[in-house]
Symmetry: C2
């Protein structure tokens, strides 16, 4: 192929191919390389899982990288370095939770511009320690390096889960209900407001907090896992439109979501935002998405309300794979599935 | 403090404080936060270590972040994306090796500029897979994100080691010999040549390869650990001048290094570089630095030569803490310890 022809290919670089396709490409390469028998859960779930010889529980392993001006801006209203540290770890805790696990040890790699104030760095560390203490994580070390660009924080987190308690994306059955733990689209609404260059109204605080200071549903996830009645689970990091197809793909099923049942934050409506659109396509909510047989709904609801948490919000049901993914409207019509979430930096 | 007064403080930002002091600052904060009883090896060694309940072996956990134009340049002579992927994992393998361990599972987080060619990214993956296969690592997944700046690769790596085999920095005894597995300063010589803006002579290839494609001493480290005669070990990532003081600090000892015994690459001398200076202060050699009682030298040498590796190069001996760190010259005089390595981006 000549260089000219090559540059006519729309997907010759990352911008053309997209992050999601690139991740898929790397996964395919890994699976082709083989030698992965030791992995109980391979790429394609919220975390990897394997068994350390002799151990009763499985070990979970995940990482998540946050890049300045790609995932956050230091100048955002309400953004503090404490929240930055908190979120860098919290997003990983959410992945461990989504497997039904308990987080254990974390490492933190941070790249920092030379002119970063020490106070600012100290406050990132405060946020990391606060999140670690809130979720029982031991920060076991890390790496700190200079950065000619912006701040980059990458956290890798281990966790543990009893083999009989692990919740994967792959167990959903036709007829299962699809549910979430709380409102969707709050973080995306916060992002839209922060990026709008307009004055931030006080009603927006709850949405901005959802974006900047996510609270992973660790207790809820463990309670759900303990029921033994959840068939599949994941956390909503890229938005329902992107994440539910992943669960369906791993489970070999389809799903229909009832638009009218999508829980949206009241603040989004009050502010005149397209709350349903944000609920579908907005990322970074870190709510749990999970499935269970209809006859177990009371057990599931009891498990959550016993914690003082909201009962599950049923948003749809699992269908055969050939039915695909659908949105159903109150008038009985259905829509095709919308495309998924793009990070603001894309 | 007024903003003006504050900016007169030399260490108000990262450039003033330095990465090493910042890492120390984070460590102090972690140790103060407490709740670290589950860590068999805490911050301050090559890796953290802990025991997964029920497991016979200890689990090792480390990470290492590489930032474009801080740790590497894409335009360097001899730099390829395959080598970039290789090195990102290899530096971590070296840390696991330094504990006497065997690497197991890795996660790879990569931040990539939008205009990165897919071919380039694919070749990074090829390098990662090549290194993983060379050292028995399973790449268990990772994260891929966009980057408004340069490329950032952060690898986190797990390993395992039998509790009786683990080699720490803390076991060196007065009278022990201090040895290394091979030439020092090769990578730093390569770096100096690459950054010199001059034409690269063919003799430099071995030095540049040392920088761009480090080969962690995993087999050597395991053979050394198996002797049961090594009292302390670490890998040389920041250079002898920086790293030996860390080993001495953890062991509560001093050390005297005989300048004339420092092994230096022949190519450095041939090219007229200050080979001894590079051997002392140059980082990224990934040779092993280790200690043992003089009576065990033959056992140690046999363990290495049985692999087809070079025998250990004894470069000095461990002294009481109050003797501090010294360089001794052939004429019997001693020098104070030189300051350590700075990454080129600092």
């Amino acid at each position: 192929m000549t260089p000219d022809a090559r540059h006519q290919t729309p997907d010759h670089n990352l911008a053309g191919l997209g992050e999601k396709n690139l991740i898929e490409r790397f996964r395919t390469r890994l699976l082709q390389a083989g030698g992965r028998e030791a992995l109980v859960v391979d790429v394609g779930d919220d975390t990897a899982a394997f068994r350390v010889p002799g151990a009763e529980k499985l070990t979970l392993f995940t990482c998540d990288m946050m890049v300045e001006n790609q995932h956050f801006r230091r100048g955002w209203y309400g953004m503090t370095p404490v929240k930055l540290g908190w979120k860098a770890l919290a997003t990983n805790v959410s992945d461990i939770a989504a497997m039904g696990g308990r987080p254990t040890f974390a490492l933190v790699s941070v790249a920092l511009p030379k002119d970063t104030e020490i106070d600012y760095i100290d406050q990132i560390h405060v946020g990391l320690v606060q999140c670690a203490q809130a979720y029982g994580v031991i920060l076991a070390g890390g790496d700190t390096v200079g950065s000619p660009g912006g701040i980059v924080i990458d956290v890798s987190l281990l966790g543990e889960v009893a083999p009989e308690r692990i919740l994967r994306r792959s167990g959903a059955k036709v007829g299962d209900l699809v549910a979430v733990t709380g409102p969707l689209g709050a973080a995306a609404a916060g992002l839209q407001l922060l990026e709008s260059q307009q004055a931030i109204p006080p009603e927006a605080d709850i949405l901005i907090t959802a974006l900047l200071e996510p609270k992973p549903k660790l207790r809820e996830a463990q309670a759900l896992a303990a029921t033994g009645k959840v068939t599949a689970m994941m956390d909503l990091s890229d938005g329902l439109a992107e994440d539910l197809p992943r669960l369906c793909q791993e489970s070999g099923v389809g799903a229909t979501v009832a638009l009218a049942t999508l829980p949206v934050p009241a603040a989004s409506r009050k502010l005149g935002l397209d709350a349903v659109q944000l609920a579908l396509q907005g990322g970074e909510d870190y709510q749990l998405l999970f499935c269970f047989a209809p006859e177990n709904e009371a057990i599931i609801a009891d498990a959550l309300t016993a914690l003082g948490s909201a009962p599950p919000v049923v948003i749809g049901e699992i269908t055969p794979a050939e039915a695909g993914l659908k949105l159903s409207r109150a008038d009985g019509t259905t829509d095709e599935w919308p495309v998924g979430f793009q990070h603001f930096g894309e």
